[in-house]
């Protein structure tokens, strides 16, 4: 069934878009990632103009995370206080990101920066997560059994400590604020929710209780993606509501099913799967940098 997208200015297969949303929604509910790191490239591959793909994927991320937050909230898996602190950082970050995006776009280097960032971030985080998951599952022996403190030393040294009951933490709000700020920049720059960076950072840097990590990450993604949608709607005018709607139909239901899986599965298994997905995307991006691209020439309106 073909549906015409008014902003993208072309027809797409409606069923394909719903299905794409559904798959991404499952990942979203399961791992607490927005899924933008899959949606955006796939939409561009389908032939949607990149700006429209980034903007509409952002709108879709909002819906998927609302659905995910709802599901996790019922199971008490959300630290609202922590989420609020990170959201403040994230909103500021997304504004800074928007400025950076404009700057890089003008020089034509945005593709390269995005590519390198993806590879470096995803590769680094993927390896870290994979190792951790393998150790946790007992499939890999730790050769140097080092005594790791629960909190990162730098984080622990920050002043002004708050209590975050749901996360079981007593730490400075500056750390989650900075984390949100970084994720906010990612959201605009990479067209992703930043969840795949947030989730590991919340576990390894902040030392949050794993039970609340996914839900809290989704709260932050929800807020930041909503802000980013507004930025896109007022500056690039590239949010395609029809496209976002199609993706949403799939992803909101997918997120519910994903959240259900997340409650049933062992956290170690979840981390292992996410690590593999993250590494696969990183590998694909790394190869993409070196392979001859499909299109040598690209057209950008002046």
């Amino acid at each position: 069934m073909d549906i015409y997208l008014p902003i993208a200015g072309q027809s797409v297969n409606a069923l394909f878009m719903v299905l794409l949303g559904f798959l991404v929604g499952i990942l979203s509910g399961m791992f607490g990632v927005g899924g933008g790191f899959l949606t955006t490239p796939l939409l561009i591959f389908y032939g949607i103009p990149p700006t429209v793909a980034v903007a509409s994927a952002t709108t879709q991320i909002t819906g998927a995370s609302v659905s995910g937050v709802y599901a996790h909230m019922r199971r008490g898996g959300v630290d609202l206080k922590m989420g609020a602190v990170m959201t403040v950082g994230g909103s500021i970050g997304s504004l800074v990101g928007a400025g950076l995006f404009k700057l890089l776009q003008a020089t034509g280097r945005i593709d390269l920066v995005i590519g390198l960032l993806y590879v470096a971030l995803l590769g680094g985080i993927g390896v870290l997560m994979l190792k951790d998951a393998l150790v946790a599952l007992g499939w890999m022996k730790v050769t140097v059994p080092e005594e790791r403190p629960r909190h990162n030393r730098w984080v622990a040294s920050l002043p002004l400590r708050w209590r975050f009951y749901a996360s079981g933490l007593y730490l400075s709000p500056i750390a989650p604020l900075a984390l949100g700020f970084l994720a906010g920049i990612m959201t605009v720059l990479l067209g992703v929710g930043g969840g795949f960076i947030l989730v590991p950072a919340m576990i390894y840097v902040l030392g949050m209780a794993p039970r609340v990590v996914v839900g809290t990450s989704l709260v932050m993604i929800l807020a930041v993606s909503a802000v980013t949608t507004m930025i896109h709607a007022t500056t690039t005018h590239a949010v395609d509501i029809v496209l976002a709607g199609l993706l949403l139909v799939g992803s909101v239901s997918g997120a519910q099913i994903g959240a259900l899986f997340a409650q049933k599965a062992k956290p170690e298994h979840l981390r292992l799967i996410l690590a593999v997905i993250v590494l696969a995307v990183a590998l694909r991006m790394a190869l993409g940098l070196g392979y001859r691209p499909d299109e040598i020439f690209t057209v950008v309106p002046l």
Binding site: D2, Y4, L248
Partner: protein, 253 residues
């Protein structure tokens, strides 16, 4: 007297021929293309008749070339090159008048109908587009970028060239079918028909096609462009609402 006639006759012929060009009557199957829900592209039929100056007989030995051109746009064309093992945007060219759509159909390969100079003057052919690059660029590089653009747009179905796309029946009626894909830009398109004989453009005529969004699509596009804040809020409310409804529904299950 005889000598006088001998001089006059060619002059007279020339005058008659110049004043009475063949009559070209072009028509197009639809002057309005409405882009609305379910739009998957449009097939335009460009047809018409060509008659001799008297309007009584079929014209002899004419070739017909039809060009459908979309609104032009200013673009930056970037080229990727491999630098230190990584593909990066290495060169770019700014073009002031790149057509968003360009289709050319002819009764015979354009190369056989006209010479290079004429083809360049009338933009007959995808390699003859006048793209108006900004700044001084040497011809070789300009050619390189133009070829890149044409290749890219051709594969997207936005530039088309059909050497036998025009059929002429009985040397009077001609017709050409040109396809607009669904991702065409909206705006005013011009359809120009050229009647060519012995390498010279004898006459040409222009008709216009208006491609515009209608109904819901028009409304959405207008809101997104002119009412960004409200449109953005609406998008956020829709996505939050849908997520919430899904949450409620699954809570019941």
């Amino acid at each position: 007297m005889k000598r006088g006639l001998a001089i006059l006759a060619p002059l007279l012929l020339l005058l008659l021929g110049g004043a009475r060009a063949p009559i070209l009557v072009p028509e197009i199957s639809q002057h309005k293309v409405e882009v609305r829900q379910g739009f998957t592209g449009a097939d335009l039929l460009l047809f018409g008749a060509i008659l001799d100056p008297g309007g009584t007989r079929a014209a002899q030995d004419y070739d017909i070339v039809v060009v459908l051109k979309g609104p032009v746009q200013s673009i930056v064309l970037r080229e990727k090159r491999k630098v230190a093992g990584i593909w990066v945007n290495a060169a770019s060219s700014e073009l002031r008048s790149a057509p968003s759509y360009f289709a050319i159909a002819a009764s015979r390969p354009v190369r056989e109908i006209v010479d290079d100079k004429t083809a360049a003057i009338y933009e007959l052919g995808l390699d003859r587009l006048q793209l108006s690059p900004i700044g001084a660029i040497d011809p070789v590089r300009q050619r390189h970028f133009a070829d890149g653009l044409v290749d890219l747009m051709q594969r997207q179905g936005l530039y088309r060239e059909d050497d036998h796309g025009v059929t002429i029946s009985g040397q009077v009626l001609y017709q050409a079918r040109i396809t607009l894909p669904s991702q065409v830009r909206t705006g005013t398109y011009t359809a120009e028909t050229f009647a060519i004989r012995q390498g010279r453009v004898i006459t040409s005529a222009v008709t216009r096609v208006d491609v515009s969004k209608q109904g819901f699509e028009r409304f959405v596009a207008n809101q997104a462009d002119g009412n960004g804040l409200l449109y953005g809020l609406f998008a956020v409310v829709v996505s939050v609402g849908m997520g919430w409804i899904a949450g409620r529904l699954f809570a019941l299950v």
